[in-house]
């Protein structure tokens, strides 16, 4: 009987290890009791030869929103939700997750089954960028050109209307509203042109200080509070090898997003952060971080923020962060948004550093 049971356990283990989904069991002390191969691939840090089994779940499964592990959550037999996991090697991964409660079993009190959700932002932006030199880009170019001519006519007529109407008359207000709407369409067209026509970067050596200066100067006319943004001095003279225009634009999109988050402008800051955990032999990386104390992004939405047309602000095109993502991605860098403790958002561009 023992031999038969042991053979069955071995078989069960092999079956579980072949599942594309991660399976993880937690004991009643909150430690990881079992992981299948998919779970280990996601959680274990092979470089540091650390293993998650036997360790407290909270140390290894850092996700936002967090796992429902309070004792009252045991009453619910199963929960399904999506979350963002930060792995031990500091990647963020979207997960679709189910937590099943098995009260009364000390060895397995909860069972987690999860699968990685593909990064739709990257896929979508990649699809657009990949076609930059192709048919979609030229179609978009023609579309933009044809849209701009009638828009120029509307804008011109509204200018004339404004000129002809008495100050404070209803006609003057109509003209002002017409001009406002025309400007909004143009902002949208301009952002769309940027996104659909992203060119390969023209790289040069440029310091983080210079990038921050250009980015802040470029948004002064769109948000007068730009002057209050705090640029932290540390590491500012570190040098990146990047396209001056694209990177400063990416940074200004992140700054505008921070200023429009409801954060006091003086709480919006830019800093250059050195990669803390660069493995030996790999190029050092540098982060440019934009932090705010605004309303933040709901955990469920944080992975959608770079999707084209995703915006919670009516006056924005919903393309600004996609453009930033596209520029950074084209440089081989990464861009991430995370929620800050105490409220607000942290946007981090991560790119290889070149020697100063």
């Amino acid at each position: 009987v023992t031999a038969a049971r042991s053979e069955r356990d071995r078989l069960a283990g092999r079956v579980l290890d072949r599942l594309p989904a991660g399976v993880l069991a937690i004991d009643d002390a909150g430690r990881i009791a079992y992981t299948n191969r998919s779970a280990r691939e996601l959680l274990d840090n092979d470089a540091a030869a650390t293993r998650c089994e036997g360790q407290p779940i909270g140390d290894w499964f850092r996700c936002d929103p967090p796992l429902p592990l309070a004792s009252r959550d045991l009453e619910q037999p199963e929960r399904r939700f999506t979350t963002t996991l930060r792995t031990v090697d500091d990647r963020t991964v979207g997960l679709g997750l189910s937590v099943t409660s098995l009260p009364g079993d000390a060895a397995i009190e909860r069972l987690l089954i999860f699968r990685e959700i593909p990064d739709t932002n990257a896929q979508m932006v990649e699809a657009i960028l990949g076609s930059s030199s192709g048919a979609l880009a030229s179609l978009a170019g023609e579309f933009i050109h044809r849209l701009r001519n009638p828009l120029t006519a509307i804008r011109g007529l509204a200018d004339l209307l404004a000129l002809e109407s008495a100050p404070d008359s209803p006609t003057s207000e109509y003209a002002a509203r017409l001009l406002g709407a025309a400007d909004r369409i143009e902002r949208f067209i301009r952002d769309f042109a940027r996104l659909s026509g992203i060119e390969p970067p023209r790289r040069e050596h440029i310091s983080v200080r210079e990038l921050a200066r250009i980015a802040i100067a470029s948004i002064r006319d769109r948000d007068q509070r730009a002057g209050q943004i705090v640029v932290q001095e540390e590491n500012l003279d570190r040098t990146l090898h990047c396209d001056r225009e694209q990177f400063s634009q990416a940074l200004s999109e992140l700054l505008l997003n921070a200023l429009e988050s409801g954060s006091p402008a003086a709480e919006v800051s830019v800093r250059a952060a050195l990669g803390s955990a660069t493995p030996p032999g790999r190029t050092s990386r540098i982060g440019i971080e934009v932090a705010d104390r605004g309303t933040g992004v709901a955990a469920a939405d944080i992975r959608r923020t770079f999707e084209p047309f995703y915006s919670t602000k009516a006056e924005r095109s919903g393309l600004g962060l996609s453009i930033a993502y596209g520029y950074v991605h084209h440089h081989g860098g990464s861009l991430e948004l995370t929620r800050r403790e105490g409220g607000g958002t942290l946007a981090r561009i991560d790119l290889a550093e070149v020697a100063s």
Partner: protein, 126 residues
């Protein structure tokens, strides 16, 4: 006789407000919808400034630029502005500026265009 400007634009809905606005601002304005008509007008009239759209009716989408290159030769004292609605964020601006004094992207507020026209004409005067 007032200062004369030639507006070369094949889209009447764009040309109309521009013409009215410039006339109200004190200029005499002639309109041409294509390159051939613009060349006819240029042969008989001296213009202080020619403002042309980059893409006019034609085969290769650069008729406005070709026209301004011709203006440089036949009327070197005439100032030129090229208008474009192109999507390209980084067009070959320097190449355009070999033929035109200024590149203006559509849409622009008419008062902004007027300011640039006044500046260019003032600079050309001895």
């Amino acid at each position: 006789m007032g200062t004369r400007i030639l507006v070369v634009e094949d889209d009447d809905s764009v040309a109309f407000p521009l013409q009215v606005f410039l006339e109200r601002s004190g200029y005499d304005v002639d309109l041409a919808a294509d390159k051939a008509r613009a060349e006819e007008l240029l042969a008989g009239t001296r213009y202080a400034l020619v403002l042309a759209d980059l893409r006019l009716r034609g085969a290769h989408n650069r008729e406005g630029l070709e026209l301004l290159a011709r203006v440089r030769i036949v009327s070197p004292g005439t100032r030129t502005i090229l208008l474009t609605a192109a999507a390209d964020e980084r067009p070959d601006g320097e190449a355009f500026l070999r033929e035109a004094d200024l590149l203006i992207r559509k849409p622009q507020p008419l008062p902004v265009i007027l300011t640039e026209i006044r500046r260019l004409i003032a600079e050309a005067q001895p």
